[in-house]
C-alpha cells in the first residue's frame, strides 16, 4: 500500500466514530466611527519602531528623494514613482539581479497592496509596483509607499480585499527577534529599517 493510501486509511479509521463537525461565527468588530483608520495605521506602524510619515501626492517625490538620499536603490520595473539613480529589477527578464547583487544595494522602494490599521501591517501581493519577493527582503532599507485609500481597519477587511491566488508578504515593522531573554530587538535578517510613507 502506498504511504498516501495508508495515511488516508488511518485517518478514516480514526474518524470512524463519526464526530459532529462544529461551527462557530467568526467575530468581526463594527467599525468605530470615532477612530480614523489612517491615523491608527500610522500609530501602530510606528509602535514597531518603523519610520512613518504622511504627505500629499505633491510632496511625495521630495519625501522619497530624502528617504533614500545617498543610498543605492533598487525598484521594481513597473513602479509608478520616480526614484532617480535607481537600479530596475525586472523579475521576468533574463538578466535578473542575483541575491548577491541585491545584497550590494542599500534600499528598495515599492508600493503595497494594502495596509491594516489594527495591527500596523502592510501587505504586499507582489503585483504592480511591488516586485518579486526577494527585492523587498535582501536590501537593508525598505521604503514603502501606501496610499491612504489602501488602508483597511482590521484583518478580516484585508482578507476581503486580498487575492488568494497571489503570493503574499505581510510586514509588521522591521525584522525583529525576541530570542534573547524574550527582549525584543529590531533588525536581524530582513530589512532592519522600514520606512512607510502614507500619501493622503
Amino acid at each position: 500500500m502506498s504511504a498516501r493510501e495508508e495515511i488516508l486509511g488511518r485517518v478514516r479509521a480514526a474518524l470512524a466514530d463519526g464526530p459532529e463537525v462544529p461551527t462557530a461565527a467568526v467575530p468581526r468588530r463594527t467599525p468605530d466611527g470615532s477612530v480614523d483608520v489612517v491615523t491608527l495605521f500610522c500609530e501602530r506602524v510606528a509602535d514597531y519602531r518603523a519610520s512613518v510619515e504622511r504627505c500629499s501626492a505633491a510632496e511625495l517625490p521630495e519625501r522619497l528623494r530624502a528617504a533614500v538620499a545617498g543610498e543605492r536603490v533598487v525598484v521594481p520595473t513597473d513602479l509608478d514613482l520616480d526614484v532617480p539613480g535607481s537600479v530596475v529589477d525586472d523579475a521576468l527578464s533574463t538578466d535578473v539581479l542575483s541575491a548577491a547583487e541585491l545584497d550590494a544595494l542599500d534600499a528598495v522602494v515599492t508600493r503595497a497592496r494594502l495596509g491594516i490599521a489594527e495591527t500596523g501591517t502592510i501587505v504586499l501581493d507582489h503585483g504592480p509596483g511591488q516586485g518579486r519577493r526577494a527585492i523587498t527582503l535582501v536590501p537593508d532599507h525598505h521604503v514603502c509607499v501606501v496610499d491612504a485609500s489602501q488602508v483597511v481597519a482590521d484583518v478580516p477587511d484585508a482578507f476581503d480585499a486580498l487575492d488568494a491566488s497571489r503570493p503574499l508578504t505581510w510586514i509588521s515593522g522591521p525584522s525583529a527577534t525576541s530570542d534573547i531573554e524574550l527582549d525584543r530587538v529590531e533588525g536581524v535578517h530582513g530589512p532592519r529599517h522600514l520606512h512607510v510613507i502614507v500619501v493622503t
Partner: protein, 483 residues
Amino acid sequence: MSATFVGMPAFPTAARAALADTQLRHNLTHATHTIRDKRARVVAELPEWEELRTAGAATKDRALLTLDEQLVRLEESLTSRGAVVHWARDADEACRIVADVAQAHGVDEVVKVKSMATQEIGLNEALAAEGIAAWETDLAELIVQLGDDLPSHILVPAIHRNRAEIREIFRRRMAASGRPAPDDLTDDPGELANAARLHLREKFLRARVGVSGANFAVAETGTLVVVESEGNGRMCLTLPEVLISVVGIEKVVPTWRDLDVLLRLLPRSSTGERMNPYTSMWHGVTPGDGPQEVHVVLLDNGRSHALADQVGRQALRCIRCSACLNVCPVYERVGGHAYGSVYPGPIGAILNPLLKGVGSDPQVDSLPYASSLCGACYEVCPVKIDIPSVLVDLRAQVVDAHRDRRVPKPEAVSMRAAAWTLSDSRRLARAERISGRAGRWLTRLAGLPGPGRRWTSARDLPAPPRESFRAWWLRTRRRGSRS
C-alpha cells in the same frame, strides 16, 4: 545539532536535575514573565478575544474531523500550482524524502526555517548522516545548534540561555561553521543579533535548497503559510532554487478565509504582538519569483493515532504558539528539557503520549503527571485545548496500560487495600480507630516508611485526625439527643 532527546530519563528524574540549576530557573522566570505580561496586554486590546478562541477551535476542528477530505483537496490544489506532494508515514520516511530531493540536486547543505515538524523527525541528524549540513537560521535555533544543545521551548528554543551564555557560544563556535563572531562582541542583544545576521547572510546567499515547515496549509487554495519574526524564513522561502516543506497533516485548514481567525489569534498568543513582523503565504511555484521547484511532504508520524483518541484529538488543534508553556507553573520551574521532547510544557505533556501511545515507554508515560492540573494552560490556549481534561484521561490510559502486570505497582496495591477497607463500614471504623490513635501523638508525618517513601518524598502528608467524622457524628448526636 548532535544532541538528541533519545534516552532521556522520565520526567521526575529529569525535573529534579533541572530544579537544582539556579541559573536555569532565573533565566526561565525572567523570560516567561516578560512574555506573559506582553501577551496579556495585547489580548486585552481585543474585546472579541473569547469569540475568536471559540472560532479558532471550531476552525481547526472542522479541518481535523474531515481530515481525509481536506488532505485530498490540499494535494490537488498543491499539485495544480506546480508543487510535488509526498506522503510520509513516519519520521524515517519523511527524512528519506528530503534527503533524496537534496541529493538529486547534488547539494551538501540546506538552509532551514525554524520548524517543529523537522525537529520532531530528527531531520538535521538524518541529513548529517547523508553528508548534508542543515543550517538552522532562526536565532534561537542557531544558538541551540552551535551550542550542541537541545531546544527547551516551542517558540524560543534557547529560552534557557541568557545573553552572557549566548555570547560565549557565538565566540567559541561560530568560526567552525562559517563566518566567526566579531572579536569585540559584547552581550548586548542587538550586537548578538547582528553577529547572527553576518554569520548567516553568506549561507542565505549561496543556498540552493531551503527546508521549511508550515504554520498552516490551506486545502482550498494550496497556500502554505509561515509566520516568523526575523526574516530568516523569508530568506529560506525566497532565495533558494528548491524548497522542501515538511507539513504535519494536522496543519491543514479548509479555506483561505480560515486564516483570518488564526492570524488574529497566533501572534498575540505567541510573541505578544499585534502581528508578527513577517508572514509569508505562497502556493506551489510562482513563475519568476522564488523557488521554481517546490516539494511538500505531508507527515503523519503518529498524528492519525492521536486523531483516533476521542478525548485527546483536540490536541491536534495546537497552532504551536507556546502560550501554555509561558504560564505553566511546572514549566517555569523545570524548563523544557525535563519533558524529553521537542514538544515541552503542558502541550508536550499531552501531545507526546498521544503521538507515541502509552504503555511502552516510561518516559512518555511519566508526562501526563507533569502537571498540577491548575488549568492556566487551558485559559490561555487560543484554540481552547482543554489540556487538564486530556491529562486526566491520559493518566487513566497509563494506569490501564499497566493493569496486566504480573507484579503490580505499589500504587495499585495500596489502591486495592484502600478499596477493601472503604467497602465495609466495620473495616473502615477499625482503620479509623487505628489512625486516630496515631494522630494523638503525631502532629505531622515526616514521611511514610518503606515503599511509601517514594510517595511522600515529594508530598506533604498531614497527620491523621484524632477523631474521624463518623466518630464525631456519633459522639455529638448522642449528646444532642439527650438534651
